[in-house]
Amino acid sequence: MTTCLVIDDSRLVRQVSRRIMEDLGFLCREAEDGKHAYEACEESMPDVVIVDWNMPIMSGLEFVEKLRDMKNGDHAKVIFCTTEDNLSHIERALRAGATEYVMKPFNRDMILSKLVKIGVEVSEVI
């Protein structure tokens, strides 16, 4: 089963993202900031990461930079899902190693389209 790590400091956003990803056939875990996400990746590298930008302790950007330095850290496809919608943020995210970038608000179709574009196999397309 394809695995996904949802990282957001908002419980509600995590829940929404998780529901979307589970609906698309992913096995999901959650983390509330970059630090916990990093630990989760050390334990087991996910296939897909959905990550917010602004979080306490370790931001999404910092997490992605660290993730890409990890052993097997280039395996995960990283999608930023954030309210940061200006070009400079997008460029920084891509430079840090993000695979895709979604400006909030997002919905299931948008996430699905991005997953297909980056070549992630989605099992539950309803």
């Binding site: 919608d85 200006n86 070009l87 997008i90 460029e91 891509l94 993000a98 895709e100 970038y101 979604v102 400006m103 608000p105 179709d109 948008m110 389209s113 991005k114 574009k117 980056i118």
Partner: protein, 290 residues
């Protein structure tokens, strides 16, 4: 809306555009017509219907038809078409237009422009992959029946939701510029396009010859007569080895006999009496050289 009133709008739309409306979509009609009712100062939609039953002002007919014309679209809608354009059609044309170095495309029924820019992005990517981006001329015509949609298309500014829904983030930052109004299509793309109001049903075919025509999800709303007329018009506007793309919702039987399709490309129509080098339409033979 009463059935009798619905029929007034249905007949008007068929007469003016060839588009037929599904009676189940009465609710959609009402929401689209409400602004026109307000604009013309009618107390209710029924009173506007009464005016249309008599000898209506041409401007009222124009406004009503424009409001009813569908403008449902998004970037890279019908993905298969854009992949065929990028990986089959444009590479084929590059191979067979070497002397002229010009490719002409037409988005017929371009709505609010997403199809226009998606066509260009796919074509430019193919031209770049085949090193044909310099010294080649990529020209586009974009037409629609609705002045309002066309103005939106020409303005080419999209909100983040519209811009990113089917576009990869790398395409977004390569072909758009961010402004305080949203995401603006870059001039590099905009400068290639001529926008023109056009009713396909009344068109006489004076736009010239095109290598590629997209007329997607337009004819699915036409009745058979209108469809045949428009297919005939489009066939006449195609180069002898031109390509016509239909949309995913265009699930009708082509009774004109003017077209043929290739296996694997059900929405890509070729002229039945065209002049194609069919072996060159194999994607394997058209791969860009590294």
């Amino acid at each position: 809306m009463r059935l009798g009133d619905f029929e007034v709008y249905r007949e008007l739309l068929v007469q003016e555009t060839g588009v037929d409306i599904d009676p189940n979509k009465t609710y959609l009609l009402e929401s689209r017509l409400s602004p026109i009712v307000r604009k013309w100062g009618y107390p209710t939609i029924e009173s506007m219907t009464l005016a249309l039953r008599g000898v209506p002002e041409p401007q009222l007919v124009h406004d009503v038809v424009q409001a009813m014309a569908s403008n449902d679209t998004k970037f890279f809608r019908d993905t298969d078409n854009f992949e065929a354009l990028e990986f089959v059609v444009i590479p084929y044309l590059i191979k067979h237009r070497k002397k002229k170095r010009e490719i002409r495309m037409w988005s017929a029924g371009c709505s609010t422009g997403q199809e226009v820019w998606s066509m260009q992005i796919a074509a430019l990517r193919a031209m770049e992959a085949h090193k044909a981006n310099k010294k080649w001329n990529l020209e586009m015509l974009a037409t629609d029946i609705s002045d309002e949609s066309l103005a939106y298309a020409e303005r080419a500014i999209y909100n983040p939701h519209e811009a990113q829904s089917e576009t990869s983030i790398r395409q977004l930052i390569e072909y758009f510029e961010q402004s305080r109004l949203g995401w603006n299509v870059k001039d590099e793309l905009k400068n290639r396009v001529t926008f023109q109001t056009s009713n396909l049903l009344h068109e006489t075919g004076s736009f010239g010859t095109f290598d590629v025509i997209f007329c997607c999800n337009v004819m699915n709303e036409f009745n058979r007569d209108a469809r045949e007329k428009v297919l005939g018009l489009l066939a006449d506007q195609m180069a002898d080895d031109g390509f016509l793309f239909l949309g995913g919702e265009d699930n009708f039987e082509d009774e004109t006999g003017l077209f043929m399709t290739l296996p694997g490309y059900p929405k890509m129509l070729l002229l039945a009496d065209g002049d194609y080098k069919l072996p060159d339409l194999n994607p394997e033979s058209l791969k860009a050289k590294e």
